[in-house]
């Protein structure tokens, strides 16, 4: 593997559900150690793209490479090995509500990596401290936490196994602006801390501007623009302009019936 090998590469990936085309010949690369943010409206195929890379959804066409290896052609064992490189923060947190907070954070270590419970517990409390949660939270259950705390526990769980690659699915959606910024800071800190590659999807521009090295825009299942964060305000792309300024009028037509 050379230094130029992208960490993640999607080549001409297509996916449709029934007659609805969700990903349409989508190609995207993420460089090692960089933070790429994919912006795009609801239903533009962002989540499906992440789930294709994770193998939760199988694309109809195309190739997906992680560290230069095609994940779609891997055996079950290789695939599990590759999945160990990933951590993911889900939009709603997706915490296991039957387990306590520390068991959630330690889950990947205990079940996925066969670590002893006591050792995993110590790491879990360590990671909880990293996201600013005290030891008293560890014994609580997810239902007892506020939305912001659940997001932070989700982040602690995503970084618990020191992943190479972290996915963030709408990390700030549903949070107040201050808590959103706290999460942004935590994401930057933990990604830098691990030296990880980050791929995030969001429609929160404040968050995108803060945590991105590079920004890409997805529209109708295709990447229509990609560039460094600094270029986002003069991309010369009408779609990107409309999106980052949040205008209802422009080339992107929402499927809303006019009254």
């Amino acid at each position: 593997m050379t230094k130029d090998t992208p960490k993640i590469e999607l080549r001409n990936v297509s996916k449709r559900f029934g007659s609805k085309v969700v990903l349409d010949n989508l190609s995207l690369t993420v460089s090692p150690g960089k933070s790429l943010i994919v912006i795009g409206g609801s239903g533009s195929g962002k989540s499906v793209m992440l789930k294709c890379v994770l193998g939760i959804i199988r694309p109809d066409k195309g190739e997906i490479f992680v560290d230069g290896k095609n994940v779609l052609k891997m055996s079950g064992g290789e695939r599990e090995e590759t999945l160990r490189k990933f951590g993911m923060l889900f939009q709603g947190g997706a915490l296991f509500d039957s387990l306590s907070v520390w068991e959630n954070v330690a889950f990947g270590l205990i079940q996925g990596r066969k670590m002893k419970r006591q050792a995993a517990k110590e790491i879990a409390y360590d990671k909880l401290a990293k996201v600013g949660l005290g030891a008293e939270v560890g014994a609580l259950y997810p239902a007892e936490l506020s939305g912001g705390m659940q997001k932070r526990v989700g982040l602690a769980r995503a970084i618990a196994a020191d992943p190479d690659i972290i996915f963030f699915d709408e990390p700030t959606t549903g949070l107040d602006p201050i808590m959103a910024d706290v999460i942004n800071d935590l994401i930057i800190a933990s990604v830098k801390d691990l030296g990880a590659t980050a791929l995030s999807i969001t429609h929160d521009m404040a968050s995108a501007r803060k945590i991105a090295d590079e920004v890409a825009m997805i529209y109708k299942g295709q990447i229509i623009w990609k560039g460094p964060r600094a270029d986002i305000d003069n991309s010369g792309n009408d779609y990107v302009d409309q999106f980052i300024h949040g205008r209802a009028d422009g080339p992107i037509k929402m499927e809303v019936l006019k009254p």
């Binding site: 193998g55 990933f86 951590g87 889900f90 079940q111 996925g112």
Partner: protein, 259 residues
């Protein structure tokens, strides 16, 4: 008009075959994971408690009253001189061969298939099942296998208890309201009942356990679309497991008792 009608038949047929295909693939994947490590023993014992132990009261009550009512029906319907022997024999055979496993299975289907579908369905729509994958844990192995194995082990045990209590229900009804001689009743029960009557019922119970857990897991796993989707999954799990229990019972009766 006629063409529309044919199109509807075609669509229904296609949907039916697609569903059968999905169930078959799901069953195969679940069964193949039963034999491959890692095994989650703690989860298995937890599920055996939930599926088996906590179903005891409802199964016992069902068996008791069914046995009692059966005794009364046979007595009123038969009006025989030798009624102690007739009533006790038919109650014992009816309970062990048919009513114990079928009614026990249906009661557990209502309780357990619904609970499994609701739990897994909620985990699906809140992305907890996807989260398992990202934490290097196979959801089929972690969620489906323990429930499947627990149900197949505990259902025969439940039915064995139901057999005993059902016969006892007949005994209580016979001695308390029909003034049978207790000694004669027990004697004729014991002398007519063969081991094959009981084991055939227990084999049926094992199959019913498989059906209940499989339908609960399948519908929960494939639920989508929030609270309504989970509700639909729960209903489908109960209805499909009940119908499959009754249908497979007919097939097994014709196979087990064919001369």
């Amino acid at each position: 008009m006629q063409l529309n009608f044919l199109a509807i038949i075609g669509q229904v047929a296609l949907a039916l075959f697609a569903e059968i295909g999905r169930v078959t693939a799901f069953t195969w994947s679940a069964v193949s994971h039963i034999l491959r490590p890692p095994f989650f023993w703690r989860l298995l014992s937890q599920q055996m408690m939930r599926i088996g132990y906590f179903s005891l009261p409802v199964v016992a009550l069902t068996a008791f009253f069914t046995g009692g009512a059966l005794a009364l029906q046979i007595y009123y319907g038969g009006n025989n001189i030798n009624s102690e022997a007739i009533v006790s024999t038919i109650v014992a055979l009816g309970i062990t061969r048919e009513l114990g496993p079928v009614l026990g299975g249906l009661m557990v289907a209502g309780r357990v298939a619904a609970a499994i579908a609701a739990e897994l369905g909620t985990m699906r729509v809140t992305e907890q099942i996807d989260a398992l994958t990202t934490l290097s844990t196979n959801p089929i192995k972690y969620l489906v296998v323990p429930r499947l194995v627990a149900a197949v082990i505990t259902l025969p045990l439940l039915v064995l208890v139901a057999d005993i209590i059902g016969v006892m229900g007949g005994f209580v009804a016979g001695t308390a309201s029909l003034n049978f001689n207790p000694g004669v009743y027990i004697n004729s029960t014991v002398s007519f009942l063969k081991a094959g009557d009981i084991t055939s019922g227990l084999i049926k119970a094992g199959v019913f356990g498989f059906i209940i857990a499989l339908m609960g897991c399948f519908h929960g796993f494939h639920s989508k679309g929030g609270a309504q989707g989970v509700g639909r999954a729960t209903t489908n799990a109960v209805v499909s497991s009940s119908v499959l229990i009754l249908a497979s019972n007919y097939v097994m009766t014709s196979l087990l008792f064919a001369k």
